[in-house]
Amino acid sequence: NAGVTQTPKFRILKIGQSMTLQCTQDMNHNYMYWYRQDPGMGLKLIYYSVGAGITDKGEVPNGYNVSRSTTEDFPLRLELAAPSQTSVYFCASSTGTVLTFGSGTRLTVV
């Protein structure tokens, strides 16, 4: 059982470049989330989705975009990378109360 799969695991971007962080879950969960984790700051919610075709902003959405065309996939798009987006990104999914997390993507913007 794969659970929540994130790719890539590591990435270095130059300022102004764009990229998509991939997230796939095989548990048929309706709810999916993107968090960023910065040292000593806990997790901050970027975007979330309650089902295919429905997304909403979290606490720190600026500089990011998402889409949810299928139940399984919830990609996160960075259009113009900035150093402030250097972080570890976690995707998670849920049927309601408890979140299942992926193993994360470590992104560095230089």
């Binding site: 000593g40 806990g42 919610l45 109360t97």
Partner: protein, 117 residues
């Protein structure tokens, strides 16, 4: 607005000693509380949760937590820790039973537990 405060950023402890990781929250309504654990270079996984019922909640790996409504606390405890418990622990709170689905699960800043031999 709800918030979560983890009072200790780092907790060093010797193997087989007891440990308590403290978590306080603020909310004007009923809450649902969680502890997640993050091992090095991994994602978070659920340790235990309080939704309703008994205020003493038991989780995996011998951890337990007690919900104290009057003190707005949800401290995590283990009577005897192992080297393998070395990890970062996050307290989280939501005001909705399906808080995850509503996107309002709020995390604390984390407590790094370091177990020394």
């Amino acid at each position: 607005a709800q918030s979560v405060t983890q009072l200790d950023s780092q907790v060093p402890v010797f193997e087989e000693a007891p440990v308590e990781l403290r978590c306080n929250y603020s909310s004007s309504v009923s809450v649902y509380l969680f502890w997640y654990v993050q091992y090095p270079n991994q994602g978070l996984q659920l340790l235990l949760k309080y939704l309703s019922g008994s205020t003493l909640v038991k989780g995996i790996n011998g951890f337990e937590a007690e919900f104290n409504k009057s003190q707005t606390s949800f401290h995590l405890r283990k009577p005897s820790v192992h080297i393998s418990d070395t990890a970062e622990y996050f307290c989280a709170v939501t005001e909705g039973k399906y808080g995850g689905s509503q996107g309002n699960l709020i995390f604390g800043k984390g407590t790094k537990l370091s177990v020394k031999p």
